[in-house]
């Protein structure tokens, strides 16, 4: 998960990587108050979890507090690649003479950490890698290895850092590498690392991405207000609701509610819908042996989504049993009710018991089942996918 720039810079400061004085503001008035106190020309930087904010007009400069408020008024109305700006980072404006790139990431194919540096900072490193790979310096290390200052100094030298700044640059690179290991990072980037007019190195931006699965051992991040989030962009209200219920869920732009079993088939099932010219309204991972209560909640998410025209349900009872699945569906039908047509297929462990539970519930409350088409192993999952696409079209979907 990605940290906001201001959070990344807080970690930089803790790891002795030079950053500027910083203030974070959540409204134009807060911006005004902060800049009044700072009383210097400033830069206002929109805080979003996605790249390309500069091009989208998300960075503005201001001479003083009044100008800053006017600029902030515009920033807080902005959507950067679809995402609203909830906070702004305020920093002193800098005179910059040179920009470098320094980063650490994981080379997953080779199971190594890799330090990446370039004499061209302030641009997308992937672009530099494509256009002029000779401008990029890489050094691979095992996770157990330290990066020594002499090695970092050699990297700094290769990207053209002048002699008088070499020791400082080496220190920054070592500290960045140590931060990467200390905080279970997946990616850390200083882009750009700048030389200021008074000949000092400063991290002008911070991109830090932390391994969600290692958050448990970094209570200091939670204290900073860092919580689970997407790698890119903020969560929708429904995604937040699902996260609270412990359900991996994403909103997509289609009209077929997806309730497809494990994550793997959750991903592939969405492709199937596309192959048959439909569009999923969501991704959901309902695997891992969910309880009936959890299954009922998943259906609530889909049924209450106004974009959903029809629901696709599938269960291959592996570790999760079909009878539990059936109990969950019945619980949902009784407690909440289904307002949209649903096609489902159930097979795998205990499917006979699942079918029996359905038949029994249907006998007592046939009206609850009016919108459900249930299939078993005899119907290939591809047919179920086609059928739900047809149903969504009938309901007036796109």
């Amino acid at each position: 998960m990605r940290l906001y720039e201001f959070e990344g810079k807080e970690l930089f400061a803790r790891c002795k990587i030079p950053v500027l004085v910083r203030r974070v503001a959540k409204s134009p008035d807060e911006v005004y108050a902060a800049v009044s106190e700072m009383d210097i020309p400033v830069v206002l930087k929109s805080q979003v979890l996605i790249g390309g904010r500069g091009k989208a007009g998300g960075i503005k400069t201001a001479e003083g507090a009044n100008e800053a408020r006017t600029a902030a008024n515009q920033l807080f109305k902005l959507k950067i690649r679809g995402y609203p700006v909830a906070s702004v980072l305020i920093e002193p404006r800098l005179d910059i003479t040179r920009e470098y790139y320094v980063g650490v990431t994981i080379d997953r194919a080779n199971y190594k950490l890799v330090v990446i540096a370039s004499g061209e900072g302030g641009v997308d490193i992937e672009e530099t890698a494509e256009k002029s790979p000779e401008k990029i310096v890489r050094k691979s290390l095992g996770i157990e290895q330290d990066l020594y200052p002499f090695e970092a100094l050699a990297i700094a030298k290769k990207i053209g850092v002048p002699s008088d700044l070499l020791k400082q640059a080496a220190g920054i690179i070592v500290n960045l590498y140590d931060l990467f290991r200390k905080y279970d990072a997946k990616l850390v980037e200083i882009n750009p690392l700048v030389v200021t007019a008074d000949d000092k190195l400063v991290a002008a931006d911070a991109r830090v991405s932390i391994d969600d699965d290692a958050l448990f051992r970094h209570p200091e991040l939670a204290e900073m207000g860092v919580e689970k989030r997407h790698e890119e962009g903020e969560m929708t209200p429904r995604e937040q609701q699902a996260t609270e219920w412990g359900i991996p869920y994403l909103d997509l732009d289609g009209d077929i509610g997806m309730f497809p079993g494990g994550a793997g088939f959750g991903i592939m099932g969405n492709d199937f819908i596309h192959y048959y010219k439909g569009r999923p309204a969501n991704f959901m991972d309902s695997g891992g042996g969910p309880s009936p209560e959890r299954i009922a909640k998943m259906l609530v998410l889909l049924d209450e989504n106004p974009n959903v025209k029809a629901i696709f349900g599938a269960r291959f009872g592996g570790i999760s049993r079909c009878d539990d699945f059936a109990r969950g569906v019945i619980m949902f039908l009784k407690d909440h009710g289904l307002s949209k047509p649903m096609v489902m297929r159930m097979t795998g462990n205990n499917w006979q018991e699942g079918v029996r539970l359905f038949d029994e519930a249907k006998k007592t409350n046939p009206e609850l089942f009016e919108k459900i088409e249930a299939h078993g192993i005899e119907t290939p999952i591809e047919e179920i996918s086609k059928r739900v696409v047809a149903l969504a079209a009938q309901e007036g979907g796109n």
Binding site: Y111, A214, H230, G266, I267, G318
Partner: protein, 288 residues
């Protein structure tokens, strides 16, 4: 023949006294897996399903001759448990839990390579050699002995593919769950080589998904293989930058798009399949 595990494997369970450990020990035994014991620190001397429990992996190995281990422990304990198993002489290790910290898996992988141990997972449903050994949490209902091997990053896809192979009469030699985590103990190419060397395996179905680089890493191996490889990749229409259920299933920047993976595999000579029904059709065309 089979790869990784068969009826002669001497299997132990790390975390055998826990809820998941004891539940699946019973299931694996009922299938016929040769489970010889297990370990839980501080619970040495107890029994689970009549099998002896030891405080350490080393003791279990010494007394029972265990050579394969399945870890059923919370993710945060996996690093230590895996390194303990690797150092105790386990030759094949299955990491069932999901969401193992990435840095931990880098340590485990390094230790495993140094000592020549094969690790699969995290977040794997395990390994199934139909009729011989079920190591992990797969439902036996989908499987039958046969002549096609499978490798998948997902449990549910393994079941759908095995079910398809079973019902179309091909059956399976061994089904390997590579795991859904971002950094895995083994890669597609390492398992593909084992299938290539297995006489009974006449074709391999490999199922990848968005995220990471393991599918791309397999291309060189596939281009050298005689055994045909069928490839399915999930997430052709996946949005970028959003994790999809599995910790490792996420398109990050330019890394990990499904279409690029599929194109790379096809260029290396793999046979792309869009849906499960394409699998038996492709196998028939290849004369498997």
């Amino acid at each position: 023949m089979a790869i990784l595990c068969d009826k002669n494997s001497r299997v132990m369970v790390q975390g055998i006294t826990g809820g998941a450990g004891s539940f699946h020990t019973e299931r694996m035994l009922a299938f016929g897996t040769n489970i010889v014991g297990g370990s839980t620190p501080g619970k040495g001397g107890q029994k689970v399903c009549e099998k002896p429990v030891f405080d350490t992996v080393a003791e279990c190995v010494e007394v029972t001759g265990a050579d394969v281990s399945a870890i059923f422990l919370p993710a945060r304990f996996v690093k230590e448990a895996a390194i303990e198993a690797i150092r105790a002489g386990i030759r094949f290790l299955v990491v069932i839990p999901e969401h193992i910290p990435i840095h931990d898996m880098l340590h485990v992988r390094r230790e495993a390579i140094e000592r020549g141990v094969t690790v699969i997972g995290g977040n794997t449903a395990g390994v199934m050699t139909p009729g011989e050994a079920n190591l992990g949490i797969m439902p036996d209902i989908a499987f039958t002995p046969g002549r096609v091997g499978t490798i998948s990053r997902s449990g549910s896809i393994t079941y759908y593919v095995a079910d398809t192979l079973t019902r179309s009469g091909y059956g399976e030699t061994t089904c390997v769950g590579l795991g859904g985590d971002p950094v895995l103990g083994s890669t597609f190419d390492e398992i593909l080589v084992k299938f290539e060397n297995d006489e009974k395996t006449k074709a391999v179905v490999m199922c990848g998904e968005i995220g990471g680089v393991y599918e791309e890493r397999a291309t060189e191996t596939i281009s050298r293989m005689e055994t045909p490889v069928l490839a399915m990749i999930g997430g052709i229409y996946a949005p970028p930058g959003k994790r999809m259920g599995h910790a490792g299933a996420i398109v990050e920047g330019k890394m990990g798009t499904a279409q690029e993976k599929l194109d790379a595999l096809a260029a290396a000579g793999a046979h792309p399949c869009r849906t499960f029904t394409d699998i038996p059709k492709t196998l028939a065309k290849l004369g498997v």
